[in-house]
């Protein structure tokens, strides 16, 4: 019964989405207030309906209703409750429902918080949001219906892929979707602006927080995914340049670019058409990501579905939205006259350079991801594009970003001189050089990676520090410290975001340059030495988990006779799927991770034991956390609360659209 209600709610939501798309769009065109006003309640109702539907599906998972095909395929009565809940989106159909739920959530958020938006803009934004909903609801209902029943319900389900039964991965998809779909807001605003034929500072002030939120969610989602890969896959890799990872990385890069170009639109009324284009591309790449993940066309370790109908349908959605938006862009972009003027050396130019580097970096990721497909289709070559390509082709651009970032961030608007900015940044530059030289002198011996990466990371962190310190003006130290605390949160958000990137730089280069690995057979009771650590395999026992059998080792690690840690790496076998997983045991400190993995028993006795020492590993995710925190701090700036009021005033005074 509840299932049928959920199904019915989903069908109703499709109807509401159609109304939300058509009625406000006509209303905005004709200037009919009543028709425009329909947008907000429609968005709210749509959200309620999809939430009901989602709740019904979750109920089926929680109660292990094995008359539902999706539950049979992806759940099991013995599965822990947490994974029964997260199992809802651990599969193609359920995750699609989560996707449309989030589309509707953003729509409802505009309806709720967007009271101050000019009515015409609001109607058009919600109409576009309705159109996106319509596309994905129909995709869900016609090709991936989660509510299909089984004719003969089995006694138990087939369980969830054990790799997905992990807290890190359980919450990774919702954050990613909040990010992907969050970019639909900028897209809808961009289309609304194109239809309206104008874009101004108020528009950018609305788009920025949504883009920032999307970027922040993507940061969290990508960070969680890479953290999961680090501890779950058994050798501590954290990024694979796998097509599905790239699918989340490209929108992240575009969101970062859009975030910065929207600042120029808001403050200087320039870069308007470019910002619109970025908004279109950002969501376009979210859709490409969905297509890559779900069509199976670029097969990857995490791809969900490999159904050609679904792939074609998604390709249709992608072509419709991106093609339609770009056509509209081509027709209307000329209407976006730039007002602001600025000199060659200025904050504006710095942001243009930032945008070029980020966009080209995203493009490199894109071409590397689709190249195997292109090569096969057009050149009849079966080839691979793996990590070495991306490391060679992508890195120069991101290094470029890191070099210019602290300088660009401190350049004044409109007309600037480089010399004073560089003079202020001198301490940061000296620190970065000192770090680079020190690391080089210590001699990793392997490559330039460590000194260059560490120096760039320090440059970013110190540059962010100099930037925020310089905002406190001149005068006595005490006064400056006081002012530091009173700075707008947006300033803090900026500093945190930039510093976080630097911290991640340090983590990645430290880990990649200095990792130590030891693989050996150890007998129980045996002690061996890895880079100054004495590692003892004390015990190996078999334990029974809730839905798995575990081989758990007890490994004691000491340094110069003093105990450092006792770790319990595990190997689990999930009988339902007959599938093994590794649970690495990690002892984490600021400077290094000790990463232990227990392998198979060996023929001559003993166990395969892998010991990794991973310097600076924690910094990678600390950087992600700081970046995401920067986003949150910036979003809480009171300017966004004030902005709502300002927009209302402007709307009351002269908000007549140029038609």
């Amino acid at each position: 019964m509840i299932t049928e209600l959920g199904h019915f709610a989903l069908v109703l939501a499709l109807g509401v989405a159609l109304v939300q798309f058509v009625v406000p769009l006509i209303g905005a065109h004709k200037g009919w207030a009543g028709w425009m006003a329909l947008a907000a309640p429609a968005a709210a109702i749509q959200f309620v309906l999809i939430a009901l539907s989602f709740g019904a599906l979750m109920y089926a998972f929680v109660t292990s209703d094995f008359s539902l095909r999706l539950v049979v395929l992806n759940s099991h009565s013995l599965k822990p409750m947490l994974y029964k809940v997260t199992g809802v989106w651990g599969n193609h159909e359920g995750s699609m429902l989560l996707w449309v739920l989030i589309v509707a959530l953003y729509g409802a958020a505009v309806a709720l918080f967007g009271r101050a938006l000019p009515p015409r803009l609001k109607a058009r934004v919600l109409s576009m949001q309705g159109l996106i909903s319509l596309a994905f609801l129909s995709f869900s209902l016609f090709t991936s219906n989660p509510f299909l029943r089984m004719a003969e319900p089995p006694f138990d389900g087939q369980g969830l892929n054990p790799l997905l039964q992990d807290p890190g991965l359980a919450f990774h998809p919702p954050f990613l979707y909040l990010g992907y779909v969050g970019l639909s807001m900028a897209f809808s605003f961009a289309l609304a602006a194109l239809i309206e034929g104008r874009i101004d500072a108020a528009w950018a002030r609305w788009v920025r927080p949504w883009t920032l939120a999307a970027w922040m969610f993507l940061t969290i989602g990508i960070g969680l995914g890479s953290w999961w890969a680090y501890y779950e896959l058994g050798w501590g890799g954290f990024w694979f340049w796998d097509p599905v990872e790239n699918a989340s990385f490209m929108p992240w890069l575009f969101a970062a670019a859009l975030l910065h170009s929207a600042i120029v639109v808001e403050k200087r009324e320039s870069l308007k058409s470019w910002t619109i284009l970025l908004a279109i591309l950002g969501f376009g790449f979210s859709l490409i990501g969905a297509f890559i993940t779900r069509s199976g066309i670029v097969t990857s370790v995490h791809a969900f579905s490999t159904d050609p109908t679904r792939g074609l349908y998604l390709l249709g959605i992608l072509a419709f939205f991106v093609g339609g938006a770009l056509t509209l862009f081509a027709a209307r972009a000329r209407a976006m006259e730039a007002k602001g003027v600025f000199a060659m050396v200025s904050r504006e130019s710095g942001l243009v350079l930032n945008n070029i580097l980020l966009a080209v970096a995203a493009f490199v990721v894109f071409i590397g991801t689709v190249w195997p497909l292109v090569a096969e289709l057009f050149f009849d070559r079966k080839l691979s594009v793996g990590a070495p390509f991306f490391e060679a082709a992508f890195t120069p651009f991101i290094v470029g970003v890191a070099i210019v970032l602290p300088i660009g961030a401190m350049l004044p608007w409109k007309r600037a001189r480089l010399a004073p900015v560089l003079a202020r940044l001198r301490p940061a530059l000296l620190l970065a050089l000192a770090v680079g030289v020190l690391v080089w002198a210590l001699g990793s011996g392997r490559s330039a990676l460590a000194p260059v990466g560490m120096a760039l990371g320090s440059w970013l962190v110190a540059g962010a520090g100099v930037d925020i310190w310089s905002r406190t003006g001149r005068g006595a130290l005490a006064g400056r410290l006081k002012r530091l605390l009173r700075l707008p949160r947006a300033d803090w958000g900026k500093a945190l975001g930039h510093a976080g990137l630097g911290v991640t730089f340090i983590g990645i280069s430290g880990l990649m340059a200095w990792q130590i690995e030891d693989i050996r057979v150890a007998r129980v009771g045996e002690t061996f030495e890895v880079a100054g650590y004495e590692v003892t395999l004390e015990e190996v026992e078999r334990l029974q988990g809730p839905n798995y059998v575990s081989t758990t080792a007890t490994i004691r690690i000491a340094r110069e006779g003093r105990e450092v840690a006792v770790l319990h790496p595990e190997k689990r076998v999930y009988p339902v799927q007959a599938m093994p997983t590794t649970e690495a045991a990690i002892d984490q400190t600021l400077w290094r991770d000790l990463y232990l993995v227990i392998g198979d028993p060996q023929e001559g006795g003993g166990w395969a034991v892998r010991t990794f020492i991973k310097p600076f590993a924690m910094w990678i995710w600390a950087g992600f956390t700081i970046m995401a925190l920067g986003g949150i701090v910036s979003l809480s700036d009171r300017r966004y609360r004030v902005a709502a009021g300002a927009a209302r005033r402007r709307g009351a005074l002269g908000g007549v659209p140029a038609e």
Binding site: G234, S384, I519
Partner: protein, 154 residues
């Protein structure tokens, strides 16, 4: 349907099957040779898995390839000779780093070419803005004039 789903699940599972890759019994005694073997392995793709190199992969196929790499190294091949040998047997597909031959030139050149193009276009745009700034000179815009009057009169 069910069968196909299970197959997909198995495919999903196989490449990331996380039991670690290089086993202790494969490791060569000579640490220099072993280091070279690791380096070569990291550039070769496991043909039955997707997107994993043979050094990371747990598949039997990857193990066979790892052993083959070590065998060739023991026989005195250079790293490049080992690579060539494997590519000859398994095809270009196993190379994690695509070659720069033929159409692949497009792949490698795409990023730098786009970057240069973007720089030129941005340069033209920025020049236009700068010229507009110069034309406007130090004069204030209407809004700024109005605001100035407001301040002076107020």
């Amino acid at each position: 349907m069910m069968k196909r789903f299970l197959l997909i699940l198995a495919m999903l599972a196989a490449p990331v099957s996380p039991l670690g890759a290089v086993n202790p019994d494969e490791v060569l005694d000579d640490p220099v040779l072993e280091a070279r073997a690791r380096e070569v392995s990291q550039g070769l793709r496991c043909v039955v898995c997707r997107g994993e190199n043979i050094d990371e992969s747990n598949a039997d196929m990857a193990r066979d390839m790892r052993l083959l790499v070590r065998e060739r190294l023991l026989e005195g091949d250079t790293n490049q000779q080992v690579m060539d040998y494997i590519v000859e047997r398994y095809g270009e597909y196993v190379l994690m780093k695509p070659t720069t031959e033929g159409a692949n030139k497009l792949l490698w050149a795409a990023g730098p070419a786009l970057f240069l193009l973007a720089l030129v276009m941005a340069g033209i745009y920025l020049k236009g803005r700068a010229r507009a700034a110069a034309a406007q000179g130090e004069k204030l815009s209407e809004e700024e004039e109005a605001r100035l009057r407001e301040l002076l009169d107020g």
